[in-house]
Amino acid sequence: MKMAQGISSQEERYRIDYTPPKKGWLEPKIEFRKGTYCYPASLKHQKYLELPNQREWQPAEQDWKLPENWKEIILEGMKDRLQRYRSFKLFLDICVRCGACADKCHYFIGSGDPKNMPVLRAELLRSVYRRYFTLTGKVFGRLAGARALTEDVLKEWFYYFYQCTECRRCSVFCPYGIDTCEITMMARELLNLVGCNINWIIEPASNCYRTGNHLGVLPHAFKTTMDFAVDEVKEITGIKVEPTINRKGAEILFISPSADYFASPHWYTFLGYLILFHEIGLDYTWSTYASEGGNFGLFHSMELAKRLNAKIYAEAKRLKVKWILGGECGHMWRVIHQYMDTFNGPTGFLEEPVSPITGTHFENAQSTKMVHICEFTADLIQNNQLKLDPSRNDHWKVTFHDSCNTSRSMGLVEEPRYILNKVCNHFYEMPENTIKERTFCCGSGSGLGSDENIETRLRGGLPRANAVKYVKEQFGVNLVTCICAIDRATLPTLFEYWVPGMEVSGLHELVGNAIVMKGEKERTTDLRGKILNSLTPPSPPTGRGEGEGEGHDHV
């Protein structure tokens, strides 16, 4: 079923067949078909990050140019990680293969490939663990589900562990809380020990290390971009906002994913931030050194995640701010909520976050000292600190897509919904099996959003798209709002295929639309420049809005 054979209809192209193959799964499957895998990291970026086994190579080629002693490296690495991570050891030991996780994975649902069942994805690694680290595996071999580590097995790992978005949906349903994300993280660390990584992760990570952000935006470009945004806000609202960059002594350091100020449709969320902060008179600064909230290091190794994350506290310390506010991003908040303090704390040089506008103490962030913008804005609205005109979003019928990380690794569920209900009049939830802790991944998370990986992404995105299609048909929804920069970068492509006509936005774009600024001129357009016709919301739209620029960039 290759695309090249001219099968064009949607029905056929991504046919889903849930019938498992005849051959057992212990046989590695190593077919690298175009569209289903990501390209390896370019040499330049491997070098910049000083990664092991630097080389040019291609997964589809026979020779992966592995180091002579690659097997030793992997097995040593495995032993090391078994000693360092209880999660790893435990999750390799206690799975009973009950199958509850199987149809919880978006990649399995969209592909039918049994090795995309979380249980089997983990078994790919578990089988090797059994062979080298357990008595039963050593004695009974294949009968005990054990297999030797071969190059083919390694290739299979590469294929399937870069076909898991670390979304943790399976861990919600597993009766023991086995988290495939942990397994995938470990597997990727192992693969990286022998230099098997992908460019869509390594390039942004390398950029981020050098320039402060994934997209490689240099400080002067950052400043120019900011000036451009200021002009645009002025044009729309008549108000000149005055954001500052790298300013010492500001009360708050604000950090967002870099796509927010560089990609589309993120840009309008960026404008929303600027409008909001100006309106409440926030004493805050942006930073060019810490110009990235996201952390693609997380998708490579804990070490690289820590290396990239270090900038946030370092910059907060240098600028002598009191606390940090963070923008809309999914995996960024995985790192901030669950890793940052451990990585790079303690934070004695900061103060407990207190909203300067409402006086609210953000007690839930008193150690990490970083507050999510949804917590911040919800608090403002609840304290009546914002004048809002939700009718300015009446041209949207909105649904909310929970990001995997904010829902399943943070529990940020009601804050964005509270805000959404205040800033727009037409908000419809998707079916409950697909939202909140059961939300479906966009299919492109954890560094897999590259163009060459399009088939895997479209398949993995099917469950999300399907729920969106449902609310489109039921309620005429025409906008998917989310608080994740990867979503904003990759959902448009997904919907273009599965739900044509669906737009994607950040939450603070809608906030920016709704805020009635002091002294603003009458708004004739929304932040996208669309003419406001506040009388009636359109019925289900038939085509996409105006061209939206690239939007497929790294975030």
Binding site: P20, G24, G145, F173, L218, A310, N364, M410
Partner: protein, 330 residues
């Protein structure tokens, strides 16, 4: 294939004990050596496994949050699915262990037509799993009557409740029906669903066969080939006081039952059944969602190479100056 080998292994166990008893008269071996050895393996194995897990730290704070975090005071937090107190964590684990809470939310996805998904709540696995585990627990408690003198009242009470239908059918225990039904269900689902068959290992079937062996032999003894319970109790009490005397005049079925049980507990720590202990240590379930207000320590944390601001400024000084961004060194 897996089924075949597992079944063969199970039959081999039956043959082993049959030949051992009928041919070789190894009665002491099966009633003294094997149970003692199995008990030692069980206890030592369990401790070994738990200590081995425990010896690896939990470097990061990674609970899976399945509910609203505790953030702003006016937003209702979910202290069970996104626990923020120790009580919440304990409740989450208790509900998981006692009622399989995560499995309770299980759903099935179907393709209604091409590219159209249908989600259906699916309680079969939850019910089957729960029925098996609870029935097993009740049966274990009932067996305490062999291990205690006087028999505690809760054991008698549970036995009475479990046998409440005995007025209709003598020697009938509800738990027996449940455990048999549940085990057969758990076996059948592995066989009839193609995905389940695909992921099942020989050891998955083997565990079920051993359990079925225990249950079958137990029920047969209860119904058809009654064992002399007084003798059994005398033997068990002797074992407990390390003054063991093999019971006389027991049928082969008794030895088969005993051997299956011994094998099961000896095998237990080295098989997937160890999940019983593992669930308590699962870091996605036993940590509270408070990682932003309590710093979690990583015991093997070490400094990493970072790109400092000084290095950054050194590289980009010129362009920063160009657009008027403030510099440290000027």
């Amino acid at each position: 294939m897996g089924i075949f080998y597992s079944f063969l292994a199970t039959i081999a166990l039956v043959l082993f004990v049959s030949i051992g008893i009928l041919g070789l008269e190894w009665k002491s071996f099966f009633t003294l050596v094997v149970p003692y050895a199995a008990t030692v393996l069980f206890i030592a194995g369990l401790i070994y496994r738990v200590l081995k897990w425990g010896s690896s730290p939990v470097p990061f704070h990674i609970p899976t949050t399945s509910g609203q975090q505790k953030s702003l005071p006016w937003i209702k937090p979910n202290n069970i699915d996104s626990p923020y107190t120790t009580g919440g964590v304990l409740a989450r684990i208790a509900l998981e262990v006692l009622f399989f809470r995560s499995l309770f939310w299980n759903e099935r996805v179907e393709l209604r037509r091409a590219y159209e998904l249908l989600f259906k709540r699916n309680l079969y696995l939850w019910f089957g799993g729960l029925a098996f585990h609870w029935a097993l627990l009740i049966i274990l408690i009932r067996h305490l009557r062999f291990f205690t003198e006087p028999v505690p009242s809760f054991v008698l009470l549970i036995q009475a409740l479990d046998g409440i239908l005995q007025s209709i059918a003598p020697t009938f225990f509800i738990s027996n029906i449940f455990i048999l039904g549940a085990l057969i269900y758990l076996f059948v689902r592995r066989v009839i669903y193609p995905q389940m068959r695909y992921i099942s290992l020989p050891s998955d079937y083997f565990a079920l066969f051993i359990l079925l062996g225990v249950v079958f032999s137990g029920i047969l003894m209860r119904f058809f080939f009654k064992a002399d319970l007084v003798k059994v109790k005398g033997w068990v009490m002797g074992m407990l006081s390390f003054n063991p005397v093999p019971p006389e005049g027991m049928s082969l079925l008794f030895y088969i039952h005993l051997f299956f049980v011994s094998f099961l507990i000896a095998y237990f720590p080295f098989s997937k059944m160890i999940h019983m202990a593992g669930i308590f240590l699962s870091p996605t379930r036993n940590l509270s969602n408070n990682s932003r207000n309590h710093r979690h320590m990583n015991p093997w944390d070490k400094p990493v190479k970072v790109h400092t601001y000084e290095e950054y400024e050194a590289e980009f000084k010129e362009v920063m100056k160009e657009v008027g961004l403030p510099l440290e060194k000027e």
